[in-house]
Amino acid sequence: MTDKNSTKRSPTFNQRLLHNKLAVAGLLVVTLLFAVSILAPVIAPYDPNAIDLRNILIPPGSSHLLGTDQLGRDILSRMIWGARISLKVGFVAVGIATLIGTILGTVSGYYGGIVDMLIMRAVDLMLCFPSFFLILTVIAVLEPSIWNIMAVIGFTSWMGVARLIRAEILTIREREFIQAARSQGASDIRIITRHIIPNAMTPVLVSATLGVAGAILTESALSFLGIGVQPPTPSWGNMLTAGKDNLEYAWWLSLFPGMAILITVLGYNLLGEGIRDALDPRNYLKK
């Protein structure tokens, strides 16, 4: 009979995650963000693009909870619709990065040899360029439409994912169940998609979560330079930028988008780290 004190079953992933209070906070933030963006048409009190020139720069109050901007548009409504944009930019950019990174990393890790070397050199090459400079150059050259921004952020951040996947693949590649599948005559593609990728995805999940946060910050940086999401479409980045010249007088123009970016990015980071900690069983092994 085993001693009751010494056997405690290892907590499941969910239990581990939920035990981490910070990660829970992050999860709450992310969920809230999702909810707000999905419900945007329902919960926004005004049309985010409705101009009202007689009510410009009104401070937060009863008619406009978060105040109005230089064209009289309601800040709260713009914030809500801006959440949609932030999520969209984050997800699509990370989606593109993950897709490219997964494909290249898998091919590189699975086939090895020359292919591996070429792809890894390409990764090194891309990493040589300060990514923000590269994004800047490309956006300045093309037009700053929301799709271009998402694509460019995606195309310049796949390298981390590729390396992660490749490392995982290298470990998994030689495992028994893969060899078993192979001996049964399964094709490469089937092996890759059915067995390898699902197992390699865990670190990618973490990377993706953190990537969304990064993409939101990058969009706000691009907005500062004038090449982020274009007006009149509201994004937190371009709202923050629009308020910077009147920072003290019209504090509500920048405080709310700024806090939104801060809390969202914080939340995603905490969640990402929480997932990473929860995935690592060593954290929970008693000494």
Binding site: N49, I51, L53, I56, L57, Q70, L71, G72, A140, V141, E143, P144, G226, I227, Q230, P231, P232, A242, K244, D245, N246, L247, E248, Y249, A250
Partner: protein, 578 residues
Amino acid sequence: MLTIAISRNILSPPCFIQPGQKYLMSKKTASILLLFILSLILVACGQSPAHDDSQKAGKKGESEQNSLEQLLPAHGDTIVVGSIGDASNLIPLLASDAPSHQVAGLVYNGLVRYDKNLKMEGELAKSWEISNDGLTITFHLRHGVKWHDGVPFTADDVMFTYRLIIDPKTPTAYAGDFEQVKEAKVLDPYTFQVVYEKPFAPALASWGLSILPKHLLESQDITKSSLSRHPIGTGPYIFSQWKGGEKIELAANPDYFEGQPYINRYRYRIIPDSATMFLELKAGNLDWMGLTPIQYNRQTAGKKFKGKFNKYNYLSFSYTYLGYNLKNPLFQDRRVRQALSFAINKQELIDGILLGYGRVATGPYKPDTWFYHQPNKKYSYNPEKAKQLLREVGWQDRDGDGLLDRDGHPFIFTVMTNQGNTLRTQTAVIIQRRLEEIGIKMKIRIIEWSAFINEFIDKRKFEAVILGWTTGQDPDMYDIWHSSKTGPKELNFISYKNLEVDRLLEKGRHTFEREERQKYYDRFQEILAEEQPYTFLYVPESLPIIAARFHGIKPAPAGISYNFIKWYVPQTLQKYSQ
């Protein structure tokens, strides 16, 4: 020199010193004006020197005296001016950006300049004669003017500058005006004569260009000259230092031929962000910047500003417009363009975006110039009239989708404007709404400047644009409106063609008689008003703010900086000792 360039950011901080537009009046008038101003200050403002005293340690005792002596012009102090961009080249012919011209404008002189009432007056030339046929101008130059290195200024310098600007090897964008010259002669060391092919009205004003020193530039390639970074001119300020990306400093020229400027140092600080610049102003580290309407109206009235700054406002030399590509079938019928002009509420643009600091534009000229004419056809906000005109052309909402349509096509077009100009963007957004109300869908596209010009304007790949022109003091509009100027990269990019306008522009350009010219340009403005190739939107005001310790500022039709060298800080108010 008169450069008509599309202004991409018409509210960029101090662009008040327009190229070619120089300042100054004679010493006598200046002193009379000064005494007048001084008495006004004492009586009206009742502001005692004690106000700004905290900045000058050890003078507390004297500040109690409110005597005239304390406010007399005194030499000394520094003025700190903010700029978003750095200068690129301080040889004026080689640079086309505003900061370069702003700084170089204080270091160099032209032969002539505009006085405070925008009349031509002499600078390096003390007088001139124009021959009866209008083809020859003879300039009589001042004696005793010296370059900053001590060498005397002569007509040879003028000749040298002229030869330099028309030299094919000189990469300058300003050669155009001087290619109209048939011959230039140096009659004696202080007389310079120039002969034109045909009578050319902008000729005289073109000689406001900065004269360069022959003895320093003649043997070198101008693009490699050290004068680009270290200019030497004849002007009121001498170059002191330039820390790339940080600041440019100039010092008053004690031997300047109009008298040493009172303000000892001119410090041009480069602060690329407008928010930071405003904070520097608020903290008292900046003395002069251009404000946005919101800053002017709402953010500069509080504790940190009262008594420490003076604000000025006056109509700027520019206008903003919505231009239509006349090759596009959508805009070819003038009734459509007129309808759009009726559908847009220009006054709301001025009230809402400019906060009242501007005036409705009715044509391509600034309202208080001698050549401005108020056209008979007016376009006040009238959406019903707009819809009616559109109906005449066949635009109606037949399918009930809220958009006007014709032959099954809805009325949709895209307007483009350049990035970096908040006011223009806001203008576009408001126009979008107004057009939506009459059933037109206007999409907005904001494009980076270079790409905008090269991909869309030059290749004529646009439907409509919102842009601005900087206007000069001469009514010649040949380059923008003449039908021969529709070639690639030329300024009549909307492809406007009207034979009567062509004739009027040609005659106006080659006539000297002001009254005769006025007739041509009046008729020109009437035609433009009728045809509406642009919807002329507004003429904004310049909104400079200047530290209160600077006295002697007197707004006039030319702005405020025309008499910059006569501005001063009374002894007790001086802030910087260097």
